[in-house]
């Protein structure tokens, strides 16, 4: 039966090649859209590792020339502002951060640790950060006073980082070379921290300690402030005025993290929504086109179908034959598509999406294409099954 169908398909190879090519490209489009959607919605339901409610960001305007250290005066004036912020009764915690959540800036690097290249996201923070962002420590401890005088730079990593680098071994106390004669030392492990929030992929997060006394650490240009819930928004003006008195040379602006979050999520979601809408329309267009072409095929194969009816094939039989042919075409297209898509993990696709969302996108795309082809074949094959043998043969 299948061989016979293959022969029928092969006989009309030129017209069918086009349909196969169309299904193949549609498969790729659906696969891409579905994988992105699954990957993002999956990320949405997982915890992000911090709490953005009631957090303000005092974002200062200074740039430190590529890589060089901040001047002692600059360091002192930022720390002066930090101490001043903590003095307000409305503020429950405050910390300096270099690349805070949702702020559109990221420090990313690849290091060779234990003979393995590890890509990591880094933020440089003072010890108050855990209280501001409500970070949960699962092993060891967060930064504290004793880190101020540490010879190594204390760091806290998240569980993703610990697992990637040390596997099941205890990461506490492990050292990594930062520079000549300068080491990073892990003092604690926190729950997975996804800096860009709900839509960001899992990352290997590392926090480097920044000392108040400027003995080590890279000064950041953000002061994150956690307020007691229900603080009057007008407090912002009071805070800004006070900080201007403390550091008259500093330019800064106060932003609310919920607003920053909305902007950051929008920037990630809008392109996906646009892509999804365009993809949907493309698929709709292909579906209509396929129906048209199949319909036309059936009209053109009147004689063949008539002959089959005359030889005793039932209407249902013809119905099934046409559908099976379409399904066969889809199978060919999906086979080529699958071979291509499964090359992607070899090219490193799993560093962008998780294997689970990749598989889900793949299976979803397979199912969609089969459903689509069968749906498009239904009406034309029903038409074919209604053909009367007498009508069909008379055509000659």
């Amino acid at each position: 039966m299948i061989l016979h169908l293959l022969k029928l398909v092969w006989n009309r190879k030129r017209a069918n090649a086009l349909i196969v090519a169309e299904m193949f490209v549609s498969f790729l489009v659906i696969f891409a859209v579905l994988t992105a959607a699954v990957s993002i919605s999956g990320g949405w339901s997982r915890p992000i590792g911090f709490d953005w409610h009631d957090v303000w960001d005092v974002s200062m305007e200074f740039d430190i020339d590529g890589g060089t250290k901040a001047s002692p005066e600059l360091h002192a004036s930022v720390m002066r502002m930090l101490d001043e912020v903590k003095r307000f009764p409305q503020v429950s915690a405050a910390a300096v951060s270099n690349t805070p959540p949702y702020a559109f800036s990221t420090t990313e690097g690849t290091r060779r640790i234990n003979g393995k290249d590890v890509t990591m996201t880094i933020d440089d923070v003072t010890d108050g950060f855990a209280d501001v962002m409500h970070v949960k420590v699962v092993r060891g401890r967060w930064f504290n006073e004793e880190d101020e005088v540490s010879r190594d730079i204390p760091v806290v990593v998240d569980t993703n980082f610990a697992k990637e680098v040390y596997g099941d071994a205890d990461p506490i106390g492990q050292k990594m070379e930062e520079d000549e004669n300068l080491f990073l030392r892990i003092v604690g492990v926190i729950e997975p921290f996804r800096k860009d929030g709900e839509v960001s992929a899992p990352m290997n997060m590392m926090f480097r300690h920044v000392a108040h006394n400027a003995s080590h650490g890279r000064l950041g240009s953000h002061i994150l402030v956690r307020l007691h819930p229900g603080t009057n928004p007008l407090f912002e003006n009071e805070l800004a005025t006070r900080l201007r008195q403390v550091a008259p040379d500093m330019s800064f602006t106060v932003r609310h993290m919920d607003g920053m979050r909305t902007n950051a999520l929008r920037a990630r979601l809008y392109p996906l929504i646009a892509g999804g809408v365009v993809g949907l329309f493309l698929i709709g267009m292909v579906a209509l086109g396929l129906t048209g072409v199949l319909w036309q095929n059936v009209t053109r194969r009147t004689r063949e179908i008539g002959l089959r009816r005359a030889m005793g094939a039932s209407g249902a039989h013809v119905h099934r034959q046409i559908l099976a042919e379409v399904a066969l075409l889809a199978t060919i297209a999906l086979l080529i598509g699958s071979i291509l898509v499964w090359q992607l993990p070899i090219l490193g696709a799993f560093s962008i999406v998780s294997p689970a969302s990749f598989t889900a996108g793949f299976l979803g795309a397979l199912a969609t294409i089969y459903a689509l082809t069968v749906l498009c074949g239904l009406y034309p094959s029903w038409l074919a099954s209604r053909l009367q043998p007498a009508d069909a043969l008379r055509y000659e």
Partner: protein, 413 residues
């Protein structure tokens, strides 16, 4: 002859409504997407007010320091622009300005989130703002660090209420009090150099720290008398920067160039190390993306066209029997297809006007008015004809190969 083809084409379209609907749906949607994308790119790259002289402007928007182990890329610093871009010999004018940064202002117990940019005096000669009140500040204002500001009409409403004049009034931003000397019409956020809501002199910065910085926070532009001067200006710039000495020894190579807006986009996409014609490669990438997007609609249209031709086998047979050459038939079918795509294109154009108006109203991008001008209409028409040609040629060729005898007999083709 052509009018005849068009008449036949319209008759054929009216015959099988379902097929016509599928074709037109596909074509108009495809062109709708392409036209919306074109309008957005036009909004970013085309020289439009206040950057209407930008076909003659090249600038330094991003620089890179490269070393053995470390790379740093970012906006140039004030010092870099001052030493290597300002007063470039052969230029009509040069300007330095900071990036527009978000600031929060506290005005009458309200918080206003807005954008502030610091500029020199020449900025106002290179860009042509539409002044509703007053005028720009001058280079003297900058040199004296006068606390004067130009604001947009939108900002005027936010600060002083609708319908009131702003000239001479003051406001406080980042702890400094500025006096309004000019009001301009609001600028879309897509204009990299022109956009802001408040403009003040550079020297009003709280510290002079910025004057020491090689990297961060600024940009510089050069207005050439003529596009043909770009070459000489770039040579001059390269010669100047070849003397650059790194204070930080981790770096030993500088990546910087005077770019048009398109070349800058190319630099962002291709990386600053890329050698070669960035603008051309960037255009190539855009065209490639458009072609990739058109792949599926084209295949769809081709298969529908093929089906329709087979339906017309007898007509083709008759024409062949009466001596029409293959070339004539190909020509006829391609013309028919172009007619179809242009009709689809017109529908797509009308739809894109509606979609763009909706996008502008939704204010996804602040102050961006996505309008359809003649240039975009022209691009759209070009796209439609191109689409019609590529989707019509293969079916036409198949049609021309139909055997007249078989076609007339009504047998297999």
């Amino acid at each position: 002859m052509l009018t005849n083809y068009i008449k036949v084409a319209l008759k054929v379209l009216a015959r099988r409504k379902f097929f016509t609907f599928i074709s037109l749906f596909g074509i108009s949607f495809t062109l709708l997407v392409l036209m919306v994308a074109t309008a957005m790119l036009d909004n970013v790259f085309a020289p439009r007010a206040p950057e209407s002289k930008f076909d003659r402007v090249i600038g330094v928007y991003r620089i890179g320091f490269h070393g053995e182990n470390f790379n740093a890329t970012g906006n140039p610093g004030y010092r870099f622009i001052k030493e290597y871009v300002l007063d470039l010999p052969g230029a009509e004018a040069t300007s330095v300005f900071s990036n527009s940064s978000t600031i929060g202002m506290y005005h009458d117990d309200r918080k206003i989130e807005t954008h502030l940019r610091r500029t020199d005096g020449a900025y106002w000669r290179i860009l042509d703002f539409d002044f509703l009140e007053g005028g720009p500040f001058s280079e003297d204002d900058n040199a004296n660090a006068s606390f004067v500001a130009v604001i947009t009409d939108d900002m005027r409403t936010k600060l002083y209420g609708g319908g009131s004049k702003a000239l001479g009034k003051t406001f406080e931003a980042d702890g400094q009090r500025f006096r309004v000397v000019g009001v301009v019409r609001a600028v879309p956020i897509t204009r990299e150099v022109g956009f802001s809501e408040i403009w003040v002199p550079i020297r009003t910065m709280k510290t002079r720290e910025y004057e020491r910085q090689w990297m961060g926070g600024f940009g510089g532009i050069v207005l050439a008398r003529n596009r043909s001067d770009f070459e000489a200006l770039r040579r001059e710039f390269t010669q100047r920067t070849s003397r650059f000495v790194f204070e930080d020894k981790t770096f030993n190579r500088l990546a910087a160039g005077l770019d048009t807006r398109l070349e800058f986009a190319g630099r962002a996409v291709l990386g600053s190390q890329f050698k070669g014609n960035r603008a051309l490669v960037f255009r190539g990438i855009l065209a490639g993306l458009a072609l990739l997007f058109m792949l599926l609609p084209t295949m769809n249209l081709v298969s529908i066209n093929l089906s329709r031709i087979m339906e017309r086998a007898s007509e083709i047979g008759v024409r062949k029997a009466f001596g029409a050459s293959s070339r004539t038939l190909i020509g006829q079918f391609v013309v028919e297809n172009v007619v179809l795509t242009v009709i689809g294109g017109l529908i797509g154009f009308v739809l894109s006007v509606a979609v763009l108006a909706a996008l502008s109203r939704m204010e996804l991008i602040p102050y961006a008015i996505f309008d359809v001008n003649l240039r975009i209409f022209f691009y759209g028409l070009l796209l439609a004809i191109f689409f019609g040609l590529i989707s019509g040629v293969y079916p036409a060729w198949r049609m021309s190969r139909i055997q007249a005898v078989n076609a007339l007999r009504g047998g297999a083709l």
